[in-house]
């Protein structure tokens, strides 16, 4: 081949600027199909995925913020409660202390009263027993006197003067004894 043939060959070649109409058709229709698929399927899905991510991230942040806020509120609440509880405990302790003192004082008074009462009762009992003893002594004295009298009577039958003397002395004794008992 020589240069003339080359020029001929080049002349035979298609002009690159002249389109094949079928190519225009195929490309145009093909692109329309692709565009349709992109509009209907691909773009909405990608937009959706993008939106979902944005929502998820923003939602997560909001959630975290809300949780933080709630935690802070709870903490403040707990602190307030703790303070309240401490005050309450102090108050109760104070109350208990004063109450205890009160109870102690009451018990002391009560004990003193009881002691006084018991003492009084004992004295009264002693007094009563003494009185009853005195009464029984008196009745004993009567029987003793009768016994003595019988003895004296028995002796008097033999000696009038001695009997007289015995009776006198007994009566004197009795009197003296009685005076002593009364003075007691």
């Amino acid at each position: 081949m020589n240069s003339t043939e080359f020029i001929l060959a080049a002349g035979e070649s298609v002009n690159p600027l002249l389109p094949n109409p079928w190519e225009i058709l195929v490309t145009g229709v093909g692109f329309a199909v692709l565009l349709f698929i992109v509009i209907k399927v691909i773009a909405p899905k990608f937009e959706q995925s993008y939106e979902d991510r944005v929502t998820a991230i923003e939602g997560g942040l909001e959630k975290a913020e809300a949780a933080q806020k709630e935690a802070e509120e709870t903490l403040a609440q707990y602190k307030a409660q703790l303070l309240e509880a401490r005050t309450e405990a102090n108050r109760i302790r104070e109350e208990a202390r004063s109450e205890g003192a009160q109870i102690l004082a009451d018990l002391k008074t009560k004990a003193t009263d009881e002691a006084t009462r018991i003492t009084e009762q004992a004295q009264r009992q002693i007094e009563a027993e003494r009185t009853s003893a005195l009464a029984s002594l008196r009745s004993d004295v009567g029987s003793l006197a009768t016994e003595l009298a019988s003895k004296i009577v028995d002796e008097a039958l033999q000696d009038d003067t001695r009997a007289q003397r015995v009776v006198n002395s007994f009566l004197t004794d009795l009197e003296a004894q009685q005076n002593a008992g009364a003075s007691n």
Binding site: S13, I24, F31, I42
Partner: protein
């Protein structure tokens, strides 16, 4: 490449560089040739790109998780790049939402079809064929004009071609220029920029392959063979440059789409 078989068959020492016709491979269905559809590899790749984009992005977002998997993360990064990097930054916070799908589809459609040029066996950017680039440019041209008319009524054409803050005497010059620039040149540059860069990249790959083959297989001199290896090494560097251009052109195409839309939406703002 299939196309290389013909010139190489008649080896007589001369080197025949690959031509633009080599970017048009034979029809896949020979019975369709008589209808002139040219249904070949390029159109199959257009369809393949649609299937791949749909499959990847639907699979990646099938079970969206708050903590994304690697695939989901990759897909979401791509989506967010178009959504925020192109859509929101250019069109603006207020109006960009309805245009996300168009920009997304445009960017990834162009990107994937460009990258096909860097994938072995596919090895041809779909947009090196003018028809595909024109189709995309026409769709977007129609879209932004429709948007302008919808937002501003028939007054849109006045807003688009009469610049504000320009002295009256210069208007006879400015208005025709604006008409040419906005309504005639704009869609052409939009499509041809993409098509030309892709075609040029592909031609360089073809040239390097054909040249290296000629130097190594056909030439007898050892020096020429060594030169052929150098060409292969050089083409590796070109490959990475092409890769960069493919991504860049997809980005530029989507970016211009956003800019045109923004201009149509806020035609009265300047």
């Amino acid at each position: 490449m299939f196309a290389f078989a013909l010139p190489m068959a008649s080896e007589e020492g001369g080197f025949i560089p690959p031509s633009v016709s080599d970017t048009h491979l034979p029809d896949i269905f020979p019975w369709m040739v008589e209808y002139g559809t040219g249904f070949g590899k390029q159109m199959l790749m257009i369809v393949l790109s649609i299937v791949l984009i749909t499959w990847f992005f639907t699979a990646a977002i099938k079970n969206p998780k708050l903590v994304p998997s690697k695939t989901q993360y990759l897909a979401e990064s791509g989506y967010a790049f178009v959504r925020n990097g192109i859509g929101r930054d250019i069109i603006g916070e207020k109006n960009f939402r309805p245009w996300i799908p168009l920009l997304f589809a445009t960017f990834f459609f162009v990107l994937l079809n460009n990258l096909f040029g860097a994938i072995p066996f596919l090895q041809i950017p779909s947009f090196s064929h003018a028809g595909s680039a024109y189709a995309m440019a026409i769709i977007i041209y129609g879209t932004w004009i429709a948007v302008g008319l919808k937002n501003h009524g028939i007054r849109y054409f006045k807003l688009a071609v009469v610049p504000s803050g320009v002295p009256g005497w210069i208007m006879p010059l400015m208005i025709p220029l604006e008409i040419i620039s906005n309504f005639i040149v704009r869609p052409l540059t939009h499509s041809l920029r993409l098509m030309a860069t892709m075609l040029a990249g592909h031609m360089i790959v073809m040239l390097a392959a054909a040249g290296a083959r000629h130097l190594i297989v056909v030439q007898d001199s050892l020096a020429m063979n060594g030169l052929g290896i150098l060409v292969i090494l050089g083409s590796v560097a070109m490959y990475f440059l092409e890769l960069l251009i493919m991504v860049l052109q997809a980005f530029v195409f989507a970016l211009l789409t956003a800019i045109y839309l923004q201009g149509a939406i806020e035609a009265d703002a300047h």
